[in-house]
């Protein structure tokens, strides 16, 4: 069934007694409305206040170093929500600011961007994960998991239902992935595939190291850390860590970051040590977008959405309370990734159709590249999904 027919069919499903339900609901709403207090602050006063708030937000951006750099470069046509981004951005992605290669998932498939800026399409895949040294890429599409070389040559494939969120282990010898509602692990050569547990729809996270230790959210939403070769559960965390939306290990394997959504448009970062002891928890305002551990310390880059704006923060996982506002802008940011050496952050600015490379040490330098969507849609219009950053890996 194509999308148009699906929509027609959904529209054709008649909930029971639609007219009666509407009549009953209107009676209740009308009665409730009649009891409401008049607004103490007429809404007509709010437009100028909103304009001031936007101006204050822009000023706040200006006070951060990157904000100063781009304050004249970001504009928002209030009402049309058009975000222009960084005007001095290069018109295309000509090169990366440092060594390494970026793995990208776009609506046209999986791609690798080299340090020189050349782009190679790996194939028509939905998601991708680097092997630890970048010699292979694990890719998935619909009912298939595969390992391909960076040139796109297929080494092996495995058919399983509804494959998604593949993650190659830091040892190189395992790939974890979700198949439907099941967490599975297969050897790096495509053999020995087996089910580990039922799991929620959250990408699993391998703990760096030689042992094959994996964090995932089980069917009930409990964060579970398991040694997969022995199928031995090392520790679990529910409560403040339950029903996570993202799991990330620090590069030294001593910290596990658990991100979970909270009611009221907030989210929480919860940090555990390797033994499962909770060492930090902090609530944040806004909607969580993405988070990534730096490759050489315990700093975490966090992207969040706050009303009309988005923000990139960097926080120290061991304290969380001292956050550095690295970059703020109007519209939506998407993913964030650290460069292999940890000196640069790559931030997707979906609303501006730009990638920003931000030098992470002092945040004094921002390099922007425009027209990202069309660059991963050659011959097309770039009207598909904004390219997703899957990882920034090792040099060739």
């Amino acid at each position: 069934m194509n999308e148009r027919r699906l929509r027609q069919a959904l529209l054709g499903i008649g909930p029971p007694d639609e007219i009666g339900a509407q009549r009953r609901a209107w009676r209740v709403v009308r009665t409730d409305f009649g009891k409401r207090e008049p607004s103490p602050w007429p809404i007509r006063h709010r437009r100028p206040v909103a304009a001031v708030a936007i101006a204050v937000a822009a000023l706040a951006a200006a006070l951060t170093p990157p904000g100063r750099a781009v304050i004249d470069e970001v504009r928002d046509a209030v009402g049309t929500q058009k975000v222009v981004g960084v005007p001095q951005a290069k018109p295309a992605l000509f090169s990366l600011p440092t060594q390494g290669r970026v793995l990208v998932s776009a609506s046209t498939g999986a791609w690798i961007v080299s340090a020189q800026g050349s782009r190679r399409k790996l194939g028509d895949y939905d998601e991708a994960t680097w092997s630890p040294r970048g010699l292979f890429v694990g890719v998935s599409r619909r009912h298939q998991l595969a390992a391909v070389t960076p040139k796109g040559e297929v080494r092996w494939t495995l058919s399983r239902p509804n494959v998604h969120d593949p993650r190659w282990s830091p040892s190189g010898f395992r790939i974890a992935y979700l198949s439907g509602s099941n967490l599975r692990v297969v050897a790096g050569d495509g053999t020995g595939d087996r089910r580990i547990d039922a799991a929620q729809d959250v990408a699993p996270a391998w703990r760096p190291g030689a042992k094959h230790v994996l964090a995932y959210a089980d069917r009930g939403g409990t964060v579970t850390v398991i040694e997969t070769d022995e199928n031995q559960t090392l520790w679990t965390a529910a409560g403040v860590a339950a029903r996570p939306t993202q799991l990330e290990w620090s590069a030294d394997a001593t910290r596990l970051l658990v991100v979970r959504g909270l009611a009221g448009g907030r989210f929480a970062l919860v940090v555990f040590d390797a033994g499962g002891r909770r060492i930090q928890t902090l609530d944040f305002a806004g909607s969580f977008v993405d988070a990534a551990f730096a490759p050489n310390n315990h700093r975490i880059a966090v992207v969040r959405r706050l009303g009309l704006r988005s923000e990139l923060l960097v926080a120290e996982a061991d304290t969380l309370r001292r956050q550095q506002a690295v970059f703020g802008g109007l519209g939506r940011f998407s993913d964030v990734a650290w460069s292999p050496g940890g000196r640069w952050l790559l931030l997707g600015w979906e609303s501006a159709d730009q990638w920003l490379f931000i030098r992470s040490a002092d945040v004094s330098k921002i390099k922007a590249n425009s027209s990202l969507a069309v660059q991963f849609d050659p011959g097309g219009t770039g009207a598909g999904e904004f390219p997703r950053i899957e990882g920034w890996c090792c040099p060739e």
Partner: protein
């Protein structure tokens, strides 16, 4: 569409000022999709009616704080779909038996009705989270980015839920011989 948005702003402004007729117009404009969306997630007519009704009440009670430059629909749908997911999860935990997924099927004379009963049954096989993203995407026509915002999820999660939900839906429909 621009005209409708302009009308909607006027209705919201009127309702904020206490106009019952503007509130009624706003209600009539948004009720059918809110109720249908709730029904497609919870698959229970009575629960869907309660959820849509309570969501409207919550929205109307907060109307004075609503920025009328923004569309009303996403605000309402966020409330409806999140409440529907919560309800469906709670029912799954209660593991009720005997109340099959179909309280009612489509009326025969509705457009697309020929597809509806198996589609409802196939939707009922999915998790509430998957049903919700399919309803938001294909009934309410939000983009994955907008769904991510509405449900406060990473966009990748929305994409994977959409993909997986549609795959499972196709499998169930195929199994049913459609």
């Amino acid at each position: 569409m621009a005209g409708l948005r302009g009308d909607e702003r006027a209705w919201i402004r009127g309702a904020q000022a206490g106009s019952l007729s503007d509130l009624e117009t706003l209600f009539r404009e948004h009720w059918p999709r809110a109720y249908r969306a709730a029904y497609l997630v919870v698959h229970d007519g009575q629960a869907a009616e309660d959820i849509a009704q309570e969501s409207f009440l919550a929205a109307i009670r907060a109307l004075d704080r609503f920025d009328r430059r923004r569309p009303f629909g996403p605000w309402l749908h966020r409330i409806v779909v999140n409440r529907a997911i919560d309800w469906a999860r709670a029912r799954a935990l209660r593991a009720e038996v005997g109340d099959g997924p179909l309280a009612a099927v489509a009326e025969e004379d509705q457009p697309g009705a020929a597809f509806s009963p198996p589609l409802v049954a196939a939707l009922a096989e999915l998790s509430p989270e998957h049903r919700a993203v399919i309803v938001l995407r294909h009934l309410l026509e939000y983009t994955p980015g907008e769904i991510a915002e509405l449900l406060e999820l990473p966009r990748g999660t929305v994409n994977s839920r959409l993909r997986r939900g549609l795959d499972e839906l196709a499998e169930h429909l195929e199994r049913e011989g459609r």
